[in-house]
Amino acid sequence: MRIRVGHLYPDYLNIYADRGNIAVLAERARRRGHELDVEAIGLAGALRPGDVDLYYVGGGQDREQELVAHDLAGKAGALRAAVEDGAALLAVCGGYQLLGRFYRDVAGTELPGVGLLPLHTVAGTRRMIGDVLLDCPWAGRTLAGFENHAGRTILDPGAEPLGRVLAGFGNDGASGFEGCRHLRAYGTYLHGPLLPRNPWFADSVLADALAHRSGGEPPGLAPLEDELERAAHDVSAERARSRGGRF
């Protein structure tokens, strides 16, 4: 099947090697006989719900994030409709923040968000930097990555986190939550990039995208030889346990 990926603002939001995530999705799709068709959606680009099976939003430096925030707010309705309609979405770091209701900087100025994930983010003064390990009980798996953010993300009551923090800071360094998931949309601070060392999650996102494409349930994907991936996960997890950040 041809999986259509809409990569939002790749020229602006690419600070944490987001193309690694895309490369992993493409290769793992190819190995199962599918093809990833990645289209960049830029500042002027239109967003047509239904045309895209998987949206990807990466992280940016503050300046780039500001440059795209208002444009993205203009696409908010279409993006929300797409996710309500079953499209998959993965947002990392800055992209994750932009999917909430708003981002408030240290001066108190608010950048508008998409309002797709039930959360908001407030800038803090100390950056939360380090390796992270999450437990994801909804999948029975763990995720290992690296975080580097000044924003404190607060989930609404009842919102589902992506995982519980085993080591590291997570959303705000206090709640024990990391990331957020809603329907087939996932937001997280974890980069590294995230997917190469967490192949189960890459496959889960792919299955979601295939479900949107086919209109059915997420398919089971044939297992791949993931020896290197597992080893990389284990090293990263060990880093988080031994030197993950905490206040």
Binding site: Y16, A17, R19, Q61, G130, N148, P196
Partner: protein
């Protein structure tokens, strides 16, 4: 102010501490005296610097500062006694250590870590400051690019009398000198060597004034080039010193015509790649601003071979190691480009560590365009504390998993690489910073190269 004798006694005691550290086998000990001085008596750093009759010159950049500073030292040395932190110890403690062993030096020439620049600029009050480039680098350590640029702006503002030498091809860096008359702006001027497009994930590609993407008449290395904003017209400033008619000779060297106020001079370099043409042009500009002649510039650059761990060739048992430090996407991309232009290697040892000096966040390897190496590689030996992550980078970059060997130990990886290298052949080794230090220690312990603290002494 303390009597000079007290400062001399203090300096002698601290040098002895460094020697003790070496005797105890605790690595180079190059920064031990400086660390102690900074801890015990930081103001002594300022006083030592004031003893230099010709003052100091500082060099900072994300990429190329070690090489550029070594080139400038090579140009200036015949005429001046120069103290120079040539083992790459570029934090306050490293510069302090150099000052402690300066003896009768006339000029201090120091490469300075981007983050340490404000503090060192304040303490040393340099007469000249070379600022060469800013790329994304170790975001976990330095923070975002804009933050580093803001700190540099403050450092520059605090030195109203210093001569600024800036790379005009980098918008953020050029801007630092835009309101400083007498600054020297250098850059490349040879569109024949421009890249067809900006590299993946290029930095500083939006206009500083209005945010519109720059258009490039020529993009040379990363975002460095001849840029102009199509909206507001903000553009590369006029170049005072330019490199023209550039020739690249594979891994063997390069040549260019240096065009400066005093005339044009053909420059022959024994180091390869466009990034070294940038380094040489920056070093030449700094040396000219310090009074060197064009003859001295050409002579010094022709003598220059390689800086510590950057394009070093070391003979090992009838084979050669070619060690090229990699540390961030822009620098690594230039290394890859230079290797491929010369014929991509069949065997490579690539070492990824994640200590603080390497960056704990290893995501940067995914922003490097390693793909041009993939076709030529028969075996990649992936090593270092994050060897598996590096192996994944190449596996997802198209290298068959059967061609990737993960060997966590650096020493074992080096031996495996050498085993795969035919007699008389050359093994390409791309290490991150702490891996480079460890690999050099290994070859030193086998007697193939002097330890860096012996070279630096």
């Amino acid at each position: 102010m303390r009597p000079p004798l007290a400062l001399d006694l203090e300096a002698a005691a601290l040098r002895a501490a460094g020697a003790l550290s070496r005797l105890a086998g605790r690595g180079g000990g190059t920064t031990i005296p400086g660390k102690l001085l900074w801890k015990l008596d930081p103001a002594a750093i300022d006083q030592l610097a004031r003893r230099l009759p010709r003052g100091s010159a500082l060099v900072s950049a994300t990429n190329g500062k070690t090489t550029t500073t070594a080139m400038a030292a090579q140009i200036l040395r015949p005429a001046l006694r120069v103290v120079h932190n040539d083992s790459g110890a570029n934090l306050v403690s490293g510069v302090a250590s150099s000052l402690l062993r300066m003896r009768d030096a006339e000029l201090g020439l120091f490469e300075v870590d981007e983050g340490a620049l404000p503090e060192l600029a304040r303490r040393l009050q340099p007469q000249a400051l070379l600022l060469a480039n800013l790329f994304r680098d170790q975001l976990d350590r330095y923070g975002e690019l804009e933050l580093v640029a803001a700190r540099w702006r403050e450092a520059v503002a605090g030195l109203p009398r210093a001569r600024l030498v800036v790379n005009g091809d980098d918008p953020q860096v050029a801007d630092l000198a835009s309101e400083r008359p007498g600054s020297i702006v250098f850059g490349l001027d040879d569109p024949a060597h421009a890249r067809p497009a900006l590299q993946h994930a290029a930095d500083s590609k939006y206009c500083l004034r209005c945010g519109t993407p720059y258009t490039y008449a020529a993009a040379y290395v990363g975002h460095l080039g001849d840029y102009r904003c199509p909206n507001c017209g903000h553009a590369r400033p006029a170049l005072d010193v330019a490199a023209r008619a550039i020739e690249l000779h594979g891994l063997e060297g390069s040549a260019f015509t240096l065009a400066a106020a005093g005339g044009n001079r053909r420059i022959e370099l024994r180091v390869p790649g466009l990034y070294n043409v940038y380094n040489a042009t920056g070093a030449a500009s700094l040396a000219l601003s310090l009074g060197a002649s064009l003859d001295e510039v050409a002579g010094g650059l022709a003598r220059f071979t390689a800086a510590f761990g950057r394009f070093e060739r070391i003979a090992v048992d009838g084979k050669r190691l070619l060690i090229l430090l990699v540390k961030n996407p822009a620098g690594a991309n230039e290394i890859v480009r230079t290797l491929v232009d010369a014929g991509a290697p069949r065997v490579a040892v690539i070492a990824l560590n994640d200590d603080i000096a390497d960056g704990r966040d290893v995501s940067w390897i995914w922003d490097v365009d390693f793909e041009p190496l993939v076709d030529g590689l028969e075996t990649l030996v992936a090593t270092g504390s994050r060897a598996e992550e590096l192996a994944l980078r190449f596996a997802y970059g198209g290298l068959a998993r059967g061609r990737i060997e993960v060997v966590r130990s650096l020493e074992a990886a080096l031996d495996r690489g050498l085993e795969l290298t035919p007699a008389g052949g050359e093994l390409t080794v791309l290490p991150t910073y702490t891996a480079m230090l460890a690999l050099r220690r290994t070859v030193a312990s086998r007697g193939h190269v002097a330890n860096y603290w012996e070279q630096a002494a």
